[in-house]
Amino acid sequence: MIAIIQYNAGNIRSVQNALRRLGCESIVTDVPEEIRGADKVIFPGVGEAGTAMQYLRDRGLDEVICSLRQPVLGICLGLQLMCTHSEEGDTSCLGIFDAAVRRFPPGEKVPHIGWNNFSHIGGRLLSGIPAEADCYYVHSYYAERCNDTSAVCDYILPFSAGLEKDNFFALQFHPEKSAATGEKILQNFLAL
């Protein structure tokens, strides 16, 4: 069973819908035992970093997420919350990936909204995805590049489109909204 972590960030339903289209049932839950007992965990989210972290801390979910040993996939805000710190609301995050989250400097339109490609650096999740494949992004903050970076997207500056460390995986773009390419990536995750 796949557990999708329920918290005060939108877009959770679309992850469940995407998994269902791939023939995979999931539960949306904020119950620590259900999350710990799942085969795989997805940590989605669109929203504001500070309020989201507060929600997780209030329920002890911050410690639950960090202690997970099964494959975990953070998406968008989920990726950012898995980093060390976010400039959004000056928020201390989970610190799974050794990267800071910053606001895009001026230069192009912000939020970065739309379809963009990435260069794959390493890791398992994005293997087999061609470099010209586009995925859907919508964000105003980005994770810096670090040793855990598995893919880089270039918009205003190069940033981490993907992060990977041990059992933790994260994507800045939305695979659940990225048409056939996104479905392939979700299938890669389900096959881990």
Binding site: N17, G114, Y136, A179
Partner: protein, 250 residues
Amino acid sequence: MLKKRIIPCLDIRDGRTVKGVNFVNIRDAGDAVELAKRYALEGADELVFLDITATVENRKTLLTLVEKVAAEINIPFTVGGGINSVADVSALIQAGADKISINSAAVKNPALIRELAGEFGSQCVVLAIDARLESDGWKVYVHGGRTPTPLYALDWAAEAERLGAGEILLTSMNHDGAKTGFALDITQAVAQQLSIPVIASGGAGRKEDFKIVFEKTEASAALAAGIFHFGEISIQEVKQYLRSQNIPVR
């Protein structure tokens, strides 16, 4: 590289897609979910659903339609029409909408933009502006283009950005349905002044119109309805053409 987006817009009335010319003379264009699925398969980058009767008849956008669309399609979509409150938006997001667009309610109560951005994030809040060129400039209309306001489109767009809107969907009422190309001057004026993305809307008739709007303005996306619904031109055709003209598309 970030791609220019092509966004079919589905005007919804009673769960059906409809399309008018200059906001009137509405024609039926089919089942909304089927059309949405077709567009997603054809390579649409996003979809916009506007419940065109919601504001006028004080009706809420059909949540069941949103749920069906969210279950079926694998690209992002925006829902607008009749949204007045945080509760309205919350229901739409819960039903599976990625973004919402607000128009008349934001003109009436600009603080709603800030409230929604604070609650759901700016990326979720699209401000739709229906603009019409008058003797003293581009003015904002509300209630589906029926009611004039004293606002200038450029000022209102800038104010919306300041309040936390994440995108502007700018429709020229003069061009809507006329198939003579997008309103380049006001689109560029807004896109140039604002730092958030602008979606050009109203007037697409030929594939060349998309090239022109992306070459002559800094619009991030272009929206069209009628030409796609009635099969006059396909999304693939538009994208193939743009690619051949070195405009980056997915």
